[in-house]
């Protein structure tokens, strides 16, 4: 069924109130045995346009830089050298990222942009988030399209045993275009895991009308239900006892980003299977007073970069301590870089190409591309040349991190982009998790009538191979094994008698080779 139509007409009966309680039960926690191959992408968005030339500094062009950007240039002696890489250094505030570089956990992609770059914050952000061409308006984001490929049935039948958790979580801000797919948000937004996720309390709903307001009301109800459905799993994950490392707090630079990343670490450690986390840092639009006039290594931009660097480093160290480092890849992006020539407001205006950072244990460490070249005769209008299309970075993430086939990458990015060698592809060589994800939401198991008094019928679908049908009670104890035998492909029914058992919630669980599903059963009186 098409998504819009689902939003408009679907009754929410399939994800009714029972499921909310069900998902916090010990049984489901146990069934949700964590697949350590589940990989996570953390997107760090830098709002405002980051000054790449003062972030990754081309020391080999220091002379010409000192002529064209005298107002903001970092003193050469203070630039942090990168071991094994002559002629390139990091802003002095980024000691944390320098350490990650030394540990082989940092990748730098130079000169990232796209043909016909746009200098408007809002349009450029849209382009980066959707992956659109400069003259194309898309109503879906690149991560939204990836999640749609991976979980094509979403949101019908979600959450389910294969994917009990949000597909994506935005921490500390609203869900932007990047996580949208054709008008549907593919993730949930949280500001804080302690936020109460209040069940609305409203009981009675009319069916949706065909009027415009009916569609809008359907959207409202979907959000209400998503809120409630995922509230339990998010809180449960956040409360799991993981021993976290230190993060910047209080008024320290980047504390807000650090706290968002700490929430991400808590949720990953708490067992969420969520694929994408999206966090952000504001304030990179440094038209004026980017640096302190008397000390160019200090100022607004230095604080931002220190915040970014400290927060990412704390996060990476925390993941290492938790043993989660191999599952997480991080990526920074900003809607554009800034102009080569500085202005006398001690700042820089909107520019084009800029470096991106990738961080994590599986990053192919090093710098891809060359130092940006300051063209001879540079004027106020001159911009840096593009070395790599940003969508080639996305293609690399999709190919070597999420293990998509080339045609699938094209499907997500809506065109063909060569993936860059920035992520270690080794983990993808034996991956075949797709089939399972793509089947998530397919209903292999039905129970009717439900609720029931003594006896009920279980309808199940086998894709061939052994079928195991079990009933558990709410406490997670096995009550009965209904079936444990090879079954030829097809749909069948079997009757289950729980007559002697007390009334209450039970779970019927199907396992058919790699596929497994769980349905709630309610026995009354």
């Amino acid at each position: 069924m098409d998504r819009r139509r689902f939003l408009r007409t679907a009754s929410l009966a399939t994800i009714g109130g029972m499921a909310v309680r069900g998902f916090s039960s010990p049984l489901l926690a146990a069934l949700r045995a964590r697949d350590l191959n589940d990989r996570v992408l953390v997107v760090v968005q830098l709002y405002g346009g980051n000054d790449g030339l003062n972030t990754v500094i081309p020391l080999d062009q220091y002379d010409v830089l000192s002529q064209v950007r005298p107002h903001v240039l970092i003193p050469e002696a203070q630039v942090l050298p990168l071991s094994g890489l002559d002629g390139t250094g990091l802003h002095p505030a980024m000691t944390g990222l320098r350490d990650l570089w030394d540990a082989g956990k940092l990748g730098i992609v130079q000169g990232v942009s796209y043909p016909q770059p746009n200098y408007s914050h809002f349009r450029a952000t849209d382009i980066w988030e959707t992956g659109a061409h400069h003259d194309q308006l898309l109503n879906s984001g690149w991560t939204g399209r990836y999640l749609d490929l991976e979980y094509p049935n979403y949101p019908a039948g979600y959450p389910n045993a294969d994917m009990p958790d949000p597909l994506a979580i935005r921490v500390g801000g609203p869900i932007g275009p990047g996580l949208q797919h054709q008008g549907l948000s593919m993730g949930v937004a949280i500001n804080n895991t302690d936020d109460p996720l209040d069940l609305s309390g409203h009981i009675y709903n009319d069916p949706l009308s065909d009027a415009c307001s009916g569609g809008k009301l359907g959207m409202v109800r979907t959000v209400q239900n998503q809120t409630d459905l995922y509230g339990d799993v998010i809180q449960a994950a956040a409360q799991s006892a993981c021993d976290h490392g230190p993060y910047p707090t209080g008024n320290a630079p980047g504390a807000q980003l650090a706290q968002a990343l700490k929430i991400v670490a808590r949720l990953i450690c708490g067992g969420l299977k969520t694929r994408i986390y999206w966090v952000s840092l504001n304030g990179f639009d440094t038209h004026a007073e980017q640096v302190v006039a008397t000390d160019h290594a200090q100022g607004v931009h230095a604080q931002l970069l220190q915040g970014l660097s400290d927060a990412i480093t704390a996060f990476q160290n925390d993941l290492a301590g938790l043993g989660l480092e191999d599952r997480v890849l991080g990526m920074t992006f900003s809607e554009f870089g800034r102009r080569i020539v500085s202005n006398a407001s001690i700042g820089t205006d909107h520019g084009s190409a800029l470096p991106m950072f990738l961080f994590g244990n599986q990053v192919a460490p090093g710098m891809l591309g060359t130092n940006p070249e300051i063209p001879p005769g540079t004027t106020y209008q001159t911009n840096l040349a593009m070395q790599y299309d940003f969508r080639s970075v996305y293609a690399a993430v999709l190919t070597d991190w999420f293990c998509l086939a080339p045609e699938e990458v094209d499907q997500v990015l809506l065109d063909t982009y060569q993936p860059l060698p920035i992520v270690d592809p080794a983990g993808c060589l034996s991956a075949n998790v797709h089939e399972q994800h793509q089947r998530a939401g397919e209903r292999l198991l039905e129970v009717y009538p439900n609720p029931f008094v003594e006896r009920t019928t279980v309808k199940y679908t086998s894709h061939g191979g052994r079928v195991l049908l079990q009933v558990y009670n709410e406490g997670g104890q096995l009550v009965t094994t209904v079936l444990n035998a090879p079954v030829a492909p097809g749909t069948r029914t079997v009757e289950v008698d729980l007559g002697p058992l007390p009334a209450g919630v039970y779970y019927c669980r199907l396992q058919n080779e790699a596929r497994q599903q769980v349905r709630n059963m309610l026995k009354v009186r």
Binding site: Y47, N118, Y119, S120, H121, F122, R123, D126, L137, N139, R170, P174, I175, G176, P177, Q180, G183, S185, V188, A189, I190, N191, D195, P196, L197, D198, S200, G201, H202, I203, Y204, N205, D206, S209, A211, C212, S213, G214, G215, K216, L217, M219, V220, R221, V223, Q224, Q226, T227, Y230, G231, H287, A288, N343, A344, S345, G347, D349, H350, Y380, Q381
Partner: protein
């Protein structure tokens, strides 16, 4: 082809729709006020503004150990008098700025909850979204207050004049670095947003070079904050030697217009005027502004048919009256009386912005705010209103960036953005807080009359205004009419009635009897009758959770 006027019936449903989109929420007193008036009469009344509001006042003090004392901070301003004409003492900064900004935002929220029945406050917020400044960036109470007053003054005025005054306002000069833009180092920040966000719209054909050239036109304007060492109210000044007096030639998009470079004290005004003339001569301005109005007042998505039948004729009207002092009133009048505005394709089909949700709920429930005799409590309660709106995702005067709130420009979601899995619980909690908690003041107040007060919704007073609150069918029906934007079925109303007013019982007289006992004697010892206030709260608590309350 002019915009097709609405000629259908103008009943209560249409009046509610009109008032929800022009006021904050629509309550029974609003309906009674306009009852019997025609659409034209109602819209004329909504678009006729009386004198503007009195400025915000000093409501703050410090406590040095001897109790609250207003003379200890911003001492030149007496408690209860306005501070807007008094320069701040730099020695007291940033404390005075903080207090004044708090006073400003509280006053501003107060203007919303005590709005008169005109478009003024909603239109002012429209401009405040269209040409926003961020309070934490500007961080200057005098500028913020002056900017807000300026927007309010031009709310239904002439667009070019509004853009002119915005361009040379201290708040905008500071916010987008215009005050640093000079011949020696052009800063194009304001020039870019002037074209992209305030007048023409992004990608319509002007060039990067046009942005840079406009920045040169705008060089030389800056802000004066002291005079010979004495602090003064922030004032915009033009400094001729900081102005680029060369000729400025624009691209073919502007017909290669050259603005002749000028020098001397009148140069800034003359060139600004020429720049605005050049920009406002482009049809794109009228189309862009009319789309902005449409997305704010009518519907998020503009399809090809709406573009042709609504935006294009409205933009034509905008251009026809571009020299009228009440240009925006003429445009809004046409929009609010158009057939399209009342069509099913747009009615109840927007998500309420947080400000409409919070302020609308307060007005619908006749929230009893403190009066002027309790000035301190009044400002404290208003500040709570500001905080609730902010909590739901719309901190007024602090939009995410210079583009304003994404709900008014972010394709394809638009108003859906207001409601996601993070903001929905906040919206839910905010309305619950209004319904269950209300506002309280503490004991440490300068004014004795403001101390230790508690303000609560009085649901008995709300339902007493219904036509027959003794009849549970009428009560439920009118409660849903008040709080829901779309009607609900008899089946849902029956379920609500039975579940709450009848406590699961079968007969209507259970409610009628209990309600009668209670209103005749609120001290009644009858156990069922004692439940009446609680029952009403349960009912309203259920209603607030319905999706129907999120639309407008």
């Amino acid at each position: 082809m002019p915009l097709t006027p609405y000629t259908g019936p103008f009943g209560t449903a249409e009046l509610r729709h009109l008032l929800r989109r022009t006021l904050f929420g629509c309550n029974n007193a609003d309906l009674a006020h306009f009852a019997g008036q025609s659409l034209q009469q109602t819209v004329d009344a909504l678009l006729t503004f009386g004198p503007g509001p009195a400025p915000t006042v000093k409501n703050y003090w410090l406590d040095a150990g001897a109790g609250p004392d207003p003379t200890l901070i911003d001492g030149a301003v007496p408690f209860g008098s306005t501070w807007v004409d008094t320069p701040r003492d730099p020695d007291e900064e940033p404390a005075v700025s903080q207090k004044r900004i708090e006073s400003f935002v509280a006053w501003r929220a107060g203007l919303l909850v005590q709005q008169d029945r005109t478009l003024r406050e909603k239109m002012t917020l429209f401009w405040s979204n269209h040409m926003p400044v961020e309070a934490t960036t500007v961080f200057n109470p005098d500028m913020l207050h002056a900017y807000d007053m300026m927007l309010r003054g031009h709310a239904l005025g002439n667009f070019r004049q509004l853009v002119h005054d915005m361009s040379v306002s201290t708040a905008m000069l500071l916010y987008l670095n215009g005050y640093l833009n000079n011949v020696f180092a052009p800063d194009e920040n304001f020039a870019r947003e002037l074209m992209e966000l305030f007048t023409l719209g992004e990608g319509v054909g002007y060039t990067e070079a046009d942005v840079q050239t406009a920045a040169r036109v705008l060089t030389g304007w800056t802000i004066q904050t002291q005079d010979g060492g004495t602090p003064i109210l922030p004032a915009t000044i033009f400094v001729p030697f900081l102005h680029d007096s060369g000729d400025k030639t624009f691209s073919a998009f502007f017909n290669n217009t050259t603005i002749t470079g000028q020098a001397g004290p009148g140069a800034g005004e003359a060139e600004l005027s020429a720049l605005l003339d050049m920009i406002c001569a482009k049809d794109e301005v009228s189309l862009f502004i009319c789309r902005e109005l449409y997305r704010y007042f009518v519907h998020g998505t503009i399809d090809a048919e709406t573009e042709a039948e609504v935006i294009v004729p409205l933009a034509e009207l905008f251009r026809q009256h571009q020299n009228a002092p009440d240009q925006m009133r003429i445009v809004m009048q046409a929009l609010l009386t158009s057939a399209h505005f009342f069509s099913e394709s747009v009615r109840a089909c927007m998500i309420k912005p947080p400000v409409d949700l919070v302020v609308g709920t307060l007005r619908q429930l006749d929230f009893p705010f403190p009066g002027p005799a309790q000035l301190e409590a009044q400002y404290a309660a208003w500040l709570q209103v500001y905080a609730l709106v902010a909590y739901c995702g719309q901190p007024l005067f602090q939009p995410p960036n210079v583009a304003g709130w994404p709900a008014y420009h972010q394709y394809p979601q638009y108003d859906d953005i207001w409601m996601d899995t993070a903001t929905y619980p906040a919206r839910n909690n905010a309305v619950a807080a209004i319904l269950w908690t209300g506002f309280t003041t503490d004991g440490n107040m300068y004014e004795a009359a403001s101390q230790d007060l508690s303000f609560q919704v009085d649901l008995l007073a709300v339902v007493a205004q219904f036509s027959d609150p003794f009849d549970p069918n009428v009560l439920v029906h009118e409660a849903t009419e008040l709080l829901f934007t779309v009607p609900v079925s008899q089946q849902v109303k029956d379920q609500l009635k039975t579940s709450y007013l009848l406590l699961g019982q079968q007969f209507d007289h259970y409610w009628s009897d209990a309600y009668e006992l209670y209103v005749n004697d609120p001290q009644t010892t009858d156990m069922t009758a004692q439940l009446v206030p609680l029952i009403l709260r349960w009912l309203f608590n259920d209603l607030r959770g319905a999706g129907e309350t999120q639309l407008f």
